[in-house]
Every structure is written in C-alpha cells, then in structure tokens.
Symmetry: C2
Subunit: 335 residues, 2 copies
C-alpha cells in the first residue's frame, strides 16, 4: 500500500482537570491512554496496562475501529511519540517526551520548536521513500480543549467535539478563559502568530503533526475530528497550501451539534471525509453507545476506515469487524 | 527510492575494555559513538557531543562515507535504537535501551528475545509498505569482538576485522576465551543454538537486525563488515534462506588479511559486495589512513556507497564527496 498510517501520541496536563476528558476511566488514567492505544493496535490487548482504554462509563477506545480497519486492509502503522508521559511498548519513533502543560498556569509547550524540527526531519525522510500519502491519527486525552483554545486564539469561532455525549463546553470555555487571562490575550489576538498560539495553548501532538506535514510534501490525511481542525488552522497560518490536506473523521463528529467541524473546516479551507460507521445494531452496549454520542473519534478511526474503504472494504464491514474485536475482548475478560 | 537505509545503533560494555575498540577517542567515549554517528548523518555535526567520533589517533568515523553517499543519492534513513546507553537526538525508532554486558562476567544479552520481537514488529510494518529493500547498517563499538565470539560459539573459524590497522586479535581471543570459560562452552558448541550464542555473547545490534530481518520479508542488504557475518550466521542458523540477503561492505574489510570476510561469507552462503572507495589521493591524512587499515567500515558505509552506485554515482564520486565533507569539518574546527 502506498499510504502509511502514522499514529502520533500526545499528552497534556489539561486531561487531568476533572471533567475535561473521558479518554480514560479516571483523569489519572488518561496518562496511559496514548501508549495503551498504540499497543492495542499491535497486540490483543495493551501491555502498559492490562485493559484497553475506556471512558469512565466503560465505552471502548476508538482504537478498536482503527484496529478493525487494519485487520481488513492490512495497512502499515508507524507510531510516533510526539510527547507523552510514558513510552509505548511497541516500536515507535521517539520525537519528544515533553507533555503539554496546564495552560491556565503557564505556557503549554515551550518545546514546540524542537518538536516541530525533529518531526520535520522524520517527515523529510518519509518523503524520500515511495510512500505517497500519510494518514496521521492521534491519541491525545484533553486534546479537544487545547484544540479549541488554539482555534480561539487564532480567531476561529469554533466549538470542538468531545468523547462525551454531554460536551463539557462550559468547563472547556472556563478553562480557556483562564488560560487567555494568564497569557494576557484576547480571542483572535494570535491570528497571525500561529506558533505563539501553539506555544501558549497547544499540545505536543499538534507540534509533531505540524512538523511531519512540513517535512512530508505529498498528500496528507489528517485523521481526526475537531483536534485536526486546530492542526489545519496552524498549517494554513504558517503558509501551507491546504489543497494537499484532507480531514478524515467519523459521522459522529460531523453530526455533533455541540461542535462545528464542517463550518470550521470550510473556514480553514480543508475538505472533509466522514466515515459512515454504524454501530446501532451492535449487540454490545459499549458500541451501540457510539450512536448516542460517546467517544466519536480518536486514534485515527475515521482515517483508518478511509484506508479500508480505499482498499475495497465497506464501512459496514469495518463496523462488523469492530464487533468481532469487541467480542474477543469480552471473551478475554471472562475466561 | 524503493530502498530504505536503516541504521541500527548498539552498545556493548565490551567496548570499554582497553584496547578492544578504536570507535571512539577513548573507551569511555565509545558510549557516545552510536548516537553521535546517527546525528552526524542529519546535521553538520553531532549534537550529543560537539565533534564527530574519531579513533584515538583522530581518524574520522565512517559515518562520513554514509553521509557523503546520502548527499549524492538522497536516500532515506531510519535510525533504530537497538540498544544504547543514550538516545540519539534525531528522530529514531526506539527498540530498546539495553546494552550488551561484558560476556566475561555474565550473559551478554538476556533481553535478546524482547529486542527480536519488537524489531520484528517494525520489520513487519515496513514490509507492508512499498519499500522493496532494506539496507541495514550499524554503529556498535566493540562489535567485532562480540561478532567473533558469536561466530566461534557457532563453530565458524572466523577472524573479524577491526577499525585499527593492528587488529587486536590476541586481546579479542583472550576476551572470548574468558567468556567461553565463564559460560562453560567450547568453540562450536552452540552450532545449533544460535539464540543461546546471541544471549551469551552478542550485542543488541545483532538482535535488532535479526528481528528486522524476520519481519521484513523482501531483500535485505546487511551493510557492514565482519559484524554482519555474525548476523548472517545467526539468520542462517535460525532457518532463513540466505538468497534474499547480501553483505555490502568496503574493499578495506575485504582486503584485510587479519580477517576472513570472504571465506566466512562463503561458508555462510551469503554474497558480498565491496565498495571500491579510494582515499589514497586525499589531501587529508585522516582519510588517506583508511588505505592503511584505519577504520575500514561502519555506519553502513559500504551499503550506503552501494545505494549511491545504484543511483548512478561512481565510487570515485563518493570518495570525492567524503573529501568535501571532511573539509567542511576542518573549516568548522578552525573558524
């Protein structure tokens, strides 16, 4: 296959704020979610912890979609540690171990320049190979809040999605307001200063994806929901031509009325693909609840589905394979 | 380009034995040689230390040949940390931070299984891409001693080369004899137990390359001198068909009468390419001395030259480019 799926892992202290992120059973466990997601793609279950990441209510990580699409389409995965607390126990490209700081107290990412430069070197090396397309997914608990902060700082009137059916918009907005106050900026003030928006409010995933995109000059699919809007906005403001980029996400993000994916994508000038996955008939409540607004996206689920579709599989087949994988997990739990 | 150059970094405590290795200005500095070699391929000079690796007498690392070939042929490099004291400050795939132990005192590599398994996963991912060939080089100070120990344990009557014109064969043989005594084995006793030879006497580079080769099922060029004989012997004993493998090294290794590259390669059944580099007319003594038996090979110099030759450049052009790079280094030293 001429596409390479790249999974960029990031952490930010923002995920530790109670109520911000459900990408982990507890705020503390969100630290483990990025490496556990990466490991689950390679093994029957993660190694760093003995179970797949779940929401506090037990909904499975969207890595299960990515893994299902990969079992069908057999695409190649390169895991990249953009900046996490812990290294995943799979082969991975080390870019940084810096995690994003809580931007209410201090600038989020003083290391943004080094992360961009290092990731750009990786992008340049990949660019010289016969690989024609990168599909870049991410696992970054708390990342929709950093994304919304970056978008607001750059003047976009965006609301980002959430892995919870009750998008904690008021909490997000309060956290962002505190960050803007700490940094002494107004909404839109960093319109022409994307790197300062990244430094003040971003996360290492964003910096790593920006760097990869600066180095890899062919087609890039940004596989994610509203977090990838922030990356797109940064790339556009840096001067990248958006025509070689595309966002691939899921219908659950596109249909989320608490968020503004389509509107903001149009504003940025990037086209969007939405994977038509359907878990409504699943026998498992953990999956059916995706239809009720739980989880929605992550770990490049939409982009992985897109690769499966390009390889000739239908979204229905991906959905069915997700059910199989979930059954395997359930059987492991109750031997 | 359909080839990918992979540089595997390894360390072994054996390089700290005085007189064993000249892949560093002092035994202690050999710890820094693998990351510094990797960094020099990406930057004008290493970052972990402010100068390129040199022998105690000041001869430059063979990374200068790899870098020269790359400046001509523009091939893509993937750095892999097989097992080193320190991480290189370039994007690199993390496999392990285990270094080989001094086999006179204890088994060298209890972690061999984990390194092989993790590297195999990386090989499998690369195998799914459009990359058709891996050219695998290495930087492993002390590695010719571990290589000779592994070959002897497996019954090959091999002498490995050295980066010194006076190959310290008697010291190597004494160290190996102590290791065999500690392990309670005779020469040839591990003929049918390659993994035990690797565990007792090997280094993490060997384990990582074996793993890569088990995962990547297309053509593999083992870019190195006598160290790659040990890898070849391991692969053959594990049951790999040698016809998809080739050794690419330099004429300096092939012409080294203190070593047995051609004889041992024939015994193993692997074909060999020897890059016809010529530094005899260089204006720099540090390079001319390559013709007198200094350095000879490393950092995949022969394999990198082979990639340049495949891309239409002559060994003379590579040699000339090495001179240019050396001049640049000299000019940086005396501003």
């Amino acid at each position: 296959m001429k596409s390479l799926f790249v999974l960029v892992l990031g952490n930010t202290e923002v995920s530790l704020i109670p109520g911000i992120s459900v990408a982990g059973a507890t705020p503390e466990l969100t630290k483990l979610t990025p490496p556990a997601d990466a490991e689950y793609l390679f093994y029957e279950k993660p190694r760093i912890i003995d179970a797949i990441p779940v929401t506090p209510e037990g909904h499975p990580t969207p890595a299960i979609i990515t893994k299902a699409a990969r079992e069908l389409a057999n695409f190649s995965i390169l895991v990249v540690r953009g900046g996490t607390y812990l290294a995943p126990l799979v082969p991975h490209v080390h870019i940084s171990s810096a995690v994003g700081r809580d931007f209410r107290r201090e600038p989020a990412l003083p290391e943004f320049g080094e992360i961009i430069r290092t990731a750009k070197l990786l992008g340049e090396e990949l660019n010289k190979t016969t690989i024609e397309e990168l599909v870049i997914g991410e696992s970054t608990p708390g990342g929709t809040t950093t994304a919304q902060a970056v978008l607001w700082a750059m003047g976009y009137d965006a609301r980002t999605s959430s892995a919870s059916p009750e998008n904690p918009q008021s909490l997000k907005e309060q956290v962002i307001a505190e960050g803007f106050k700490r940094a002494g900026i107004e909404r839109g003030q960093l319109k022409d200063n994307p790197l300062e928006a990244l430094r003040q409010f971003g996360d290492p995933m964003m910096a790593a994806v920006v760097g990869l995109a600066l180095g890899f000059r062919k087609n890039i699919v940004l596989a994610g929901g509203t977090q990838m809007l922030a990356v797109s906005a940064l790339l556009r403001a840096i001067g990248e031509d958006m025509s070689r980029f595309m966002i691939a996400t899921t219908k659950w993000v596109v249909n989320d009325r608490s968020a503004t994916l389509i509107e903001t994508a149009k504003e940025i000038g990037i086209i969007t693909y939405a994977a038509d996955l359907d878990f409504s008939k699943s026998e498992f409540k953990g999956l059916r609840d995706y239809e009720n607004g739980y989880v929605k996206e992550g770990v490049g689920a939409g982009g992985a589905t897109w690769l499966a579709v390009k390889a000739g599989f239908s979204p229905e087949e991906v959905s069915a394979k997700v059910g199989e994988l979930y059954r395997r997990l359930m059987e492991m739990k109750s031997p």
